[in-house]
């Protein structure tokens, strides 16, 4: 069986990659993709802990399913917002979208 620390280490690297991308990239669609990466790494952790600690009560798996649901809703609304922004300007640079800055 796979050691649990391997799974936690994998998801730590994945979360670090997503965090770096979300903080350093400027394209809003790329930031959305990096957020999906981070949500996936959390899901991997939940699945692993549910398997190793309570395999008879799959509460972690249920929580992962809810995270998938929220991630799908977030991606849909986020892409719709980006499409609306891209209609008025050609790029979706998060540094230049400052409509609420005042």
């Amino acid at each position: 069986m796979i050691p649990l620390s391997w799974v936690v280490a994998t998801s730590a690297i994945l979360f670090g990659l997503g965090l770096y991308g979300a903080l350093s990239l400027r394209n809003a669609v790329r930031i959305l993709m990096c957020i999906e990466l981070m949500l996936n790494s959390v899901n991997l952790n939940l699945v692993a802990f549910s398997r190793y600690l309570h395999p008879d009560q799959p509460r972690g798996l249920v929580l992962a399913i809810f995270i998938m649901t929220v991630a799908a809703a977030e991606a849909a609304v986020g892409l719709a917002i980006f499409l609306t922004i891209a209609r008025n300007r050609t790029d979706i640079d998060v540094d230049k979208i400052q409509l609420l800055k005042g």
């Binding site: 620390s5 936690v8 399913i65 809810f66 609304v77």
Partner: protein, 180 residues
Amino acid sequence: MNAVQIIYALLAVVTLACAYGVVVAPKLMHSALWLGATFVGMAALYVLLDADFLAAAQILIYVGAITTMILFGIMLSDIRDLRAPGEGPWWRRFARLVLSPRRGLLPLLAALGFAVVLWGIAWQAPWPASAPPATSDVTSSIGRVLFTEYALPFELASVLLLVALVGAVVLAMREGVDNR
């Protein structure tokens, strides 16, 4: 190391390489395709962790819906990708990226610090040495828990999806289309 561990290590390396591709791919389209590959790799990791239903849901929702939606969103709109100025040899571009504090150094430090802390926890913490034997019917117990204990969050999730659907349609609708 037995066979399952070797397979897990290979799949994890491939998945992390695909995730790296998401972050560094120069074209937005390639980045989205790497994202789909990452999701497939995650589904394979779920299979190794005895979560078959999660793997199927991952393929259906993430690969089938989210990646496709992002690809269509890129292709059907005029979202233009932001290209970094690509002059100079690669090490000079790399140095410039790393040395720019807001876009290079600080995110790198934050992500590295977070990952290092998590790695320390992962290797130090007293995890259970071996997993208990797998229960045979994970999927049916997921269904039982989902419809008894988590029935209210389940129904709320359906409301959330409906609201997100309507909201996405309203946001993406062009102005003036509804006046006809």
